[in-house]
């Protein structure tokens, strides 16, 4: 247990040194926040403000800014692990006693924790200065949000882990990574809240793990889970995807380890 905490803590600290890149990233997030928000407002204007699937214009605007702030939960399709696999450095990692999946989970937890602490609220604050946002006042909602964010992080990681592992078979992960990135972007609610999708597409989206990475936590914060049972169902969906993807990741890892043994690295 102590090991995982140390890994996370070190990862947290390592990422705090990239200052210039941090500023550049936050700047980009904010710019795109403006662009997305204006387009969505125009959509609602054209409908005279009529809500879509229970979301009114304030909902989608708040959603957009929160997505820009918490994008790091979803918008990375592979880990540095993929590069280590490509160069063969991973063979050393596989022989270490520490579990590879847990190691990377801890490392990612540290990294994302740092980024949430430093970056997540900047776009929201900026957005709040220019637009009308609706953020909850009840602490219970914020706590539920924190739980959902933690679950989202796990789901996001598990998916990233699987994509990275494909490098064992495909060697150049650029193609799979790009494909994953677009699927994530599209179905997690990053580009546009999936609430706005036509019903058939929205149903398809909710049968993928992607909404669990971003859309669901934000729905929690917007207060869209109006009863305890709805909230439980939402958490259950996230937990289910986390379990399924983590398990798939472990299965792939075992397959990869067999492959490495057979091929001698």
């Amino acid at each position: 247990m102590r090991l995982w905490w140390e890994v996370a803590r070190r990862s947290f600290r390592r990422h705090s040194t990239y200052r210039a890149a941090l500023f550049a990233g936050v700047f980009t997030n904010t710019v795109f926040g403006f662009l997305k928000t204006y387009v969505l407002i125009a959509v609602y204007d054209a409908r005279d403000g009529a809500p879509i699937n229970g979301f009114d214009v304030t909902d989608v605007v708040t959603f957009s800014w929160l997505a820009q702030g918490f994008w790091m939960l979803a918008m990375q399709s592979h880990l540095e692990l993929a590069e280590r696999i490509r160069t063969g450095d991973v063979v050393g990692d596989l022989y270490r006693p520490a579990d590879l999946q847990l190691w990377w989970l801890s490392s990612e937890a540290g990294r994302i924790a740092f980024q949430i602490l430093v970056r997540s609220f900047v776009p929201t604050v900026v957005g709040g200065l220019f637009f009308h946002l609706r953020l909850p006042t009840s602490p219970a909602v914020w706590i539920a949000f924190a739980v959902s964010v933690a679950l989202a992080m796990v789901v996001g990681f598990a998916h990233r882990f699987i994509v990275s592992l494909t490098t064992f078979w495909v060697l150049s992960y650029m193609g799979t990574s790009q494909l994953a990135m677009i699927l994530i972007g599209f179905f997690s609610g990053m580009f546009v809240p999936i609430t706005l999708f036509p019903d058939w597409l929205g149903t398809i989206a909710r049968w993928t793990p992607y909404p669990a990475m971003l859309q669901l936590p934000i729905e929690v914060l917007l207060g869209k889970a109006t009863s305890a049972s709805e909230l439980a169902a939402l958490f259950a969906a996230q937990v289910a995807w986390a379990v399924v993807l983590l398990a798939a990741g472990r299965w792939l890892l075992a397959a990869a380890q067999r492959k490495v043994v057979v091929q001698g690295g």
Partner: protein
Amino acid sequence: MGELGRKARLYVLLVRARVRADWQYRTPFVLFTVAQFGITFLDFLLIAVIFQRTPHLEGWSLPEVAFLYGTSGVSFFIGDVFISQVERVGMYVKDGRFDSLLVRPMGTLFQLSTEEFAFRRFGKLVQSTIVLVVATASLDVAWTPGRAGMVALMLTTGAVIFSAIWVAGSAITFFAVDSIEVVNSFTYGGNYATQYPIGVFGPWLRRFITLAVPTAFVNYFPALYVLGRSDTLGLPSWSRFASPGVAVVTVLVAMTAWRVGLRHYRSTGS
């Protein structure tokens, strides 16, 4: 013409060498190009999703917005294929490779654009072209030679404007090596913004993309002429024909920025 001809020949040779080198890794390369192609269709799907919820955006119909999307995309991805690689200059400066460029008898911009030429980016360009063709065919426009010519012109000037933004932005990284992502928010942000009629944006943002980083001249203003729309923002009617002039100005700014950045590098090292 001799000097220009020789430069062009050298450009072709160097790009061919790069493509030949990349072709050795052709399986992932082909997969990647196909993935990119499919991927950018999903990108357009976002616009389709929006038009599911409303038949008009700022009074513009789906074919018209698709036209904006297509013209923006084609211009942007031409720039992406031929020029965007200069944004890697920060990497070159960091690992010292930039010095190797300075001891060769060619311009640094020229070398960056040939050395990092990426054939696989053509996938996105093809997709945008398809959207543009389909959109143009679906437009309810009285076509004249002038309008058709304007489409060809705006694609060219648009590519030039985006390319200039890329170069100017990359030049800034001579001063702040890790800031390249800021430039992306202008280039990719500019592409995204020009997929929609600029009326959707707040007045300050509109002014910014017209006067400061003039991406509105890539497609919006010329499109007003092609589509026979009146501008709802009160700009003079000659602004629809101003793209070539704007393109020239942006190129001058970009070349100056690059020269300034280069001078800074040569006086402070890396």
